[in-house]
Symmetry: D2
Subunit: 489 residues, 4 copies
């Protein structure tokens, strides 16, 4: 009964700006780690929130949403009894009345997530998830709603909670609830709410999950803590985030991982998109949004020539910049060299470049000594994974004046008047200054669906109690009006 779907052709739709999520960024941690939990909320959490607001309320003209985001009435959803038009009450959300508005958002998203809709269409006859009982814990947005409803179409029963206390689109949650989808999520949950919602997904009489779709590992963690017996029936876990993968590997090392898991984050497709292809575009985007620099004729030092560095270098070269690459890995250095970039040590070029961009994943790649040498007006920013590539702490000294110029932009002024332009305080630039194209969200969501299908249908013995990468054959992307879905049932 194996069946290969490929080259499913569909009308292609465009990307929209409503892409809200930085799916890799996990804000919520274990309940044990309360302090960290709080400090995270005050930092990235709020950034994420304002980001979301700017997109859904400022940018769009939809009045329907404003209600949800600036709620006058501060009654907790847990204290309200809501009921949908079919009489169903198995959900807990902000306001069921927002359902119509949310449905419109979902429909728009469907339009844009061709790959996922192609999969839905291709596999709806087969129902490859018939009998699957999935508990999910992800962002609850229009895009993920398309994923949930696709899973349903493919035969699955699902229950859902949010993986972030701020990112839920309440109108979308309402639309799901209206369709009898058991969803437990609202924007502005308390920490207690957060775990309560997760618990409502799992702790159900007469219903036991056999698949987990997680984004950050909180659902998995909760079941381990409270309902470990459920793992007997669970066929597998699909995890999206780096944090979650890390937790799974720790479990695996400790010999406690009792079901197979698929690491969606490190699938080839996702990696290529998140790094090479997205950064090729977002480096330009982010720099323009923050500095409005003209790229042509500029000299740029790019630290690191991995996928991110390759994307940044290619983009700036194409815009007419002269790019220097610093690299310590010999193979990557070789590639930079054969791609026509001048290999250099940062110290040798830092005096005369107009920009320094870090893409290494290492710590303290740009240190105070480098910044002391930079010329007036040099732009410094970080596209790498961690926030420590630029030694920003070294700039927190009395002789330097910090001048906040606009969002994401600080001038650091030396005693002699020289100023360098620090972007996003050295944090990952494109996460704060650029959005993830919905195209990429669509790829990720489809990959999650494929991973669920694969784990649920895999013959006995194919997967052991370990963390797996998605098999190469399960690949999806769309281009030129055609959605390429490679998978096997």
């Amino acid at each position: 009964m194996r069946k290969v779907y490929s080259l499913v052709s569909l009308t292609k739709n465009r990307e929209s700006k409503d892409a809200v999520l930085s799916l890799n960024i996990k804000q919520i941690q274990y309940p044990e780690q309360t302090r960290e939990f709080d400090s995270r909320l005050t930092k990235t959490g709020r950034r994420s929130l304002s980001h979301s607001i700017s997109h859904s309320s400022t940018d769009s003209n939809s009045s329907g949403g404003s209600d949800a985001e600036n709620p006058e009435d501060e009654v907790s959803p847990r204290d309200m009894q809501q009921i949908n038009s079919k009489g169903n009450m198995d959900f807990c959300i902000k306001n069921i009345k927002l359902a119509d508005f949310g449905r419109r958002e979902i429909e728009l998203a469907e339009d844009e997530m061709t790959a996922l809709m192609a999969l839905r269409k291709a596999a709806q006859g087969e129902k490859p998830l018939a009998a699957a009982k999935i508990v999910g814990c992800t962002h609850v947005t229009a895009q993920t709603a398309v994923l949930f409803e696709t899973l349903k179409v493919l035969g699955a029963q699902c229950r859902w909670a949010a993986c972030n206390i701020y990112s839920t689109q309440d109108e979308v949650a309402a639309a799901l609830a209206e369709q009898d989808f058991p969803v437990f999520a609202w924007k502005g949950e308390s920490e207690d709410d957060f775990w309560w919602c997760i618990d409502r997904c799992v702790n159900v009489e007469g219903w036991e999950p056999n698949m987990i779709l997680d984004d950050g590992g909180d659902m998995t963690h909760w079941i381990y803590k409270k309902y470990p017996h459920l793992f007997k029936k669970v066929k597998g876990i699909v995890e999206e985030s780096i944090t979650g993968i890390h937790r799974l590997h720790q479990l695996s090392k400790a010999g406690k991982l009792c079901v197979p898991a698929i690491n969606v984050n490190d699938s080839v497709t996702k990696q290529k998109f998140d790094n090479l292809y997205c950064c090729r575009e977002s480096i330009l985007d982010s720099l323009k949004k923050t500095t409005d620099i003209m790229f042509g004729g500029k000299q740029v030092a790019i630290c690191g020539y991995g996928e991110v560095g390759k994307g940044c270098s290619a983009a700036l070269k194409a815009m007419g910049s002269v790019v220097y690459v610093t690299e310590i890995d010999p193979i990557c250095a070789l590639q930079a060299c054969m791609d026509g970039f001048r290999l250099a040590k940062l110290g040798d070029v830092v005096r005369h470049v107009d920009m320094v961009i870090t893409c290494t994943g290492n710590k303290n790649v740009v240190v105070r000594e480098h910044m002391d040498l930079m010329k007036n007006g040099c732009v410094v920013c970080n596209m790498g994974r961690s926030n420590t590539e630029i030694d920003v702490n070294s700039l927190q000294t009395p002789e330097l004046v910090w001048q906040h110029v606009r969002a994401q932009v600080d001038h650091i002024i030396w005693p002699d008047g020289k100023r360098i332009v620090l972007l996003a305080e050295g944090r990952v630039l494109n996460l704060s200054s650029s959005t993830v194209p919905i195209y990429v969200l669509s790829i990720t969501a489809t990959t999650q669906a494929l991973a669920l299908i694969e784990l649920f249908n895999a013959p006995e013995g194919r997967y052991k109690q370990d963390v797996y990468l998605l098999p190469k054959k399960l690949v999806i992307f769309e281009t030129f009006n055609t959605c390429f879905v490679f998978f096997v049932l």
Copy 2:
């Protein structure tokens, strides 16, 4: 006494985001054309205004400026008597108290306008504008202030008015006034104010201008109308805008141009920057800001392969798009072809492309028939000079639904649900969605200064009563920490 300055090396500074102006766009016309004047104000004028506000008040955190932009007190500057710290009253501006804040803005701009500062430094000994009496009518901003003060350093006496009723930075005007610079400009002038300010520059006892620096032709027009006798002493006009050039050519045709004029707008440097190099960057910028589309793997039709089309095509190709070019000029078609683009007729590819970008300068390049064929989600926009390349009127029919999605973005929805994404209502995209890098403003300002020097110092007979392009030898640009100034005194 000829002297060649070249390769003047200066510390290079970075571009800032404060670039406000679309210098080519003239919103003010003759007093006779009141109706058009008004209608323009309600369209482009307001766009320009909000643009300006977003940059100076929202993006920057400077509290000093807020005063000026949201004035509680609505007394007209014409009704106030202000005096600077030196006792001078020969100016008319919003509020002299803003001078300190404005000076800081000017200093920041100086930092960024290396080419102009290089010229100032190189020529301040010569004082090539000694005895020049310049009346100017341009935008009054931090960047143009650097120009005015450079002219002063080079020996000129100047009087200045704004060329746009909205674009004046009041704090900058204050800083100029504080330095005894006769400036007559404020944000939010009435039409009457506008001409009154211009008159105050020209109608001065005991002072007659001998040079005109114009941006739009209003100053020139006013002198022709009211004080034609002044032209006896005027050595020349330097004009920046297309509108102004057009007027000068009309005068010339009519045999009424009585002094030489230099057309700064069409200088090679400016043309290359405004079109090829700026568009190469601003097409990406504009598309990201409005649609957040991912460029990689997309198919794009670019109509026209002039400088603008070349810039757009190169940028999108570099980002991994497949680009089709439509072109009717054989030489440009040949170039597109040899640059590796597929030549096509729009009708042949319009069905399957993801974007259509017009760059022709012609009318109705994209018509309703094309848009009827486009696929769902196709993005349509115009990078060409005029606002008529896309036949937007043809979309104003009852069966189509317009949905305003966000600033600069409309969805046009066909009866069958197909939507196309129209950007900036078909107006020039990068003027509304991208800013001009200050680097380019710096080039333009330096070119204006060079043109004034050239006209003022030209030996008898070099220039007749005609409109000239800037001689090729007067070229300026900066790169790699070096500012290249090619000119001859």
Copy 3:
């Protein structure tokens, strides 16, 4: 009766390697200049010859041709009486028996010269050259034969001589003669033969030419010298070579040019192809053929950023080289800079580059001081127009050892053992080491035909007694299976 032909679609054919000619290089001069004539023959003449031989006899396997090129019998064609199969004797060639072989060569060339064949097909009904009597003096090869026969099809009567004593393909001349085409040319003419052949074209009883197609100006010169009265009927001259254009301009200056002339050499199409597009490919080709250097990761200094420099820079950048550009023209310098090349002075980079390529058109761009600084193994070559860009004479000193390594390659060895690699002894590299694609020859030939049509049909007064460029509307090129012919009858 005006008619626009455009976008004539034809099956596209491929380029062949048989392209023999560097059409711009004129080896023959006036009889008065005997010494120069001889010295040229010993230099470029022979190079051209051996080039031709390598292509027609070594590379191809055709036995038919060997006869003609290594003739045992050294009887001069002028002393032989030959007759074609139709009884016609109005020609003078090597050997009429080679006609069949020559016809095959012409047919192959027809296949490859789509643009010209498109013109032939498009205009054969109109016969725009009916009543034209053309004397021609060009290379006589398979490609030019397609041009001659096209002119005939369009209605012209023609008589033809060779413009070079070595370049004639005898079998092609035979094929033309067999078709009653009056051709006077063979490979290995003496100087006396050369002028005798030209005279046989012009000095005909009862036939007077009214058009001249010249390549080098010898036919025009001969008529001026011997039969100036003929100019009364001549409607115009079409000239292909730089030398010929130079002569025409001298005539024009001296007030002696008595008919209009069209300068085909400087037509936009030809310039773009000869310089930008051809050099982009031939620089790689020439370097590989001579040095087999790997381009990736190399550092290259390119002197000059005109069309040739642009082509070379783009090609090497694309192959992964790091390119430095030296340039003194400010606009070109600006372009180099915005195209992402590092501007430099040669002296500043010459120590560490792997290659230096001159493309300036100036003298002594690379001098001994530069070469003294170059590192061991540096490759030096010239792509510019003249042979004096590299000061090769300065290398003719006792302390340097020249070692001829292979064709076009010399090592110059310094006393300390350092060697630099000099290509083509500093002469134009791609003329000696690369061939002109037949595609370009086809474009040129079609342009010549269009120029003849234009001059012959131009209404009285359109052209005066001057040298003209081809009007922009007369443009031809082919691409993507389509031959674009833009012209108006």
Copy 4:
């Protein structure tokens, strides 16, 4: 005693054209496989030979070499007793008198193989190969001689035989013999000679090898067959060719591999160079040498987007071609797509492309049906590994006429006159029409040396009886005057 060498800076030298070898192509097989052995000699063997001749005798002007290559005297070296100037006779070569000429060739090669010379210089103090006794079986050329002598400098004793009966440069062998290097090789060995030479390396009284450097596996095979006891002392095998690696893997599978082996062929560096970087250059080179096609504006179908396809696509795109990619691997397809290439099925584009280039590694990628659809003049060639990507057999039918046009070029003519241009009869194009840059040979040789050092010095247990890839840390390349040698002693 570990020591890291890195970033060793040396004066960089240029590549020469003398690169002779296609190191991956093994012509010699087991003695058992005589029939295949012969058939290979008549095919690739001779091609390789003529290639070699063209480079050493035609292209260079060295008279010294002619002797060796066209020997009048046909006495076998085995029947001559030669003695070097030091009285040593432990070698068997063509002619010891050629030593001086060979030494010059080696010195030139030294100049060009910077990486290897850098290693020699860096490690000569350490003598990391002291006590190593290496038997080698590789091509014997100037380049490999630099390798042999480097091994000697690093402390090794060596004995050497040729891995190919045609590729030996006799003058180089003489120069080695003159320096007491025991070498057994001459150009034009018989099969019996071949094995005799190998035996002379191994079968020595009082000397037993402890390392094997092989290229094709013949030395390894011979020791297995004849002197298996030697393996007791052998510390490892370094193998260069695909064939040899294949044999090693077979031994390993059969449990017969009794020492560790390092697979040099599949080292990252070598793979990148052999495929991506070399093909990026050699596709252009090969096409120009065979067809002289102009790339600009051409349409090209490239089958396969692995490393070879990536190189070919990038090069042709850079030259202004429009490239279509066919690909079945989803990840590679995705990359092609995001790199801006149009994905297509060959059947859909074959009608209108100007070229088809196969780079897949699969069989029958281009079949008769495709070729039937191609337009007149379409060029078809293969850059992939195997010779079966184009189904050339399907063209061996009576209705098609084959016309051999020149070396590597055949026209296949259809009954209707259409011709397609088949290059190299469908065999790997760049092996026959382009040479391997010496830069790449230098990288390979240095990698071999590093592998020998690693295996010889590896602590007990690091390597088992298996085939290993070179550890990533052992990487070498040179660029920008700097030779990057990454290794650890």
